[in-house]
């Protein structure tokens, strides 16, 4: 293991991770893919899911991303996520609470409101997030 893969994960709010790792597995729209060092140039869109960072054979970090892009260049892997959280810092109870609150808002808005679609999307994101925990 002489070479390491440079991996950075950024969201519009901040840079969540930047550093050298062995292996990253990310949820592409067309399926999950793994990136090792010296991967060929590759670009894909991402779906909601878990990005796993591996050191050796053990998963050292799990991050949940909400859509975005992955860009592999000779310089390394960059993931541009719309939104991303480190799963280690997420509390299932809090997510459940947010989900309940959101469900209430959706019910209160009623079917006619134009907001429901966006709220439903938010809800399914939280559902995915909870499932990943």
């Amino acid at each position: 293991m002489a070479d390491k893969l440079h991996f950075s994960l950024v969201s519009p709010a901040r840079e969540l991770f930047s550093g050298e790792v062995d292996h990253v597995i990310a949820p592409g729209t067309d399926g999950e893919f793994g990136v090792l060092v010296n991967h060929a140039p590759f670009m894909t869109t991402l779906k909601n899911g878990v990005v796993r960072v591996l050191d050796g054979d053990t998963v050292s970090m799990r991050l949940f991303v909400r859509g975005g892009f992955a860009d592999v260049t000779p310089a390394g892997l960059t993931i541009l996520a719309e939104e991303a959280v480190n799963l280690a810092s997420v509390d299932a109870a809090v997510v459940q609470k947010d989900m309940d609150a959101l469900r209430q808002t959706i019910l209160a808005e009623g079917k006619d409101s134009g907001k429901v679609e966006a709220l439903e999307e938010e809800y399914s994101y939280l559902e995915d997030l909870k499932a990943a925990l």
Binding site: A13, F69, T73
Partner: protein
Amino acid sequence: MSGLKELKNRIGSVKSTQKITKAKQMVAAAKLRRAQEAAEASKPYATRMANVVANLTAGMTEGAGGPKLLAGTGNDQTHLLIVMTAERGLCGGFNANTAKLARQTIQALQGDGKTVKVITVGKKGREALKGEFEDLFVDHVDMSQAKDKFTPFAIGLGKDLSKRYDDGEFDIATLIFSEFKNVLTQTPKTMQMIPATAPEDAETIDLNGAIYIYEPSEPEILEELLPRYLNTQILSAMLENAAGEQAASMTAMDNATRNAGELIDSLTLQYNRARQAQITKELIEIISGAEAL
């Protein structure tokens, strides 16, 4: 006596003004730190995004179709200007400078016979341009409820722009905002957003002749990427603007505090002189009265 009383009142009122400006300066300084941090934190994403767009567009052959957001409408008749200013005043020339650039840009475009439409973001710019260009306004984004959360506003505006563009409402969209250089300098700047252009300073990565693999396909990725790139550009402009506003406000309030201090000094001097003169006058009156006896 009335002169003395008046002076004393004035000193009091200037002192309370100074307290207010001092407080505003400190508030702005605290907000500036937060705004600056937010702007800094969003930079990596914006830079990477710009690099990815630069990479993708470099691979695309000139004018070979591509999404409309990138290729343009093939026309440059209708220009849409998005003028981004602050919601509040009391920040020196910050809003006025942006409005001035907007005015010049509008006049230059109109001089060339182009049609100009304007979307204002932030109340102050709207007020400044209302007199001359009210008939050009097509929309206004009210940021007063934004507080520190700009993302929904950026995404909203981005969606709105894409929709207007698809409806053929304009050919070229340009953003006018204040670039945050440092605490002392914010320069108004224009940036073309649609058709999308990669910034000149973006690094294009040398692939050593390797070929990119796209998944799904290149057009589909671009289709997804460009609206996001648009949102990112709007968001970073908003963040820079917010930081600039606080910096300008801090500088302006600092100046006001200093001016008030100078005014207080000179008024105090005047007051002491008048008091001294009064005492001297009274003494002379007493002494000459005693001498007359």
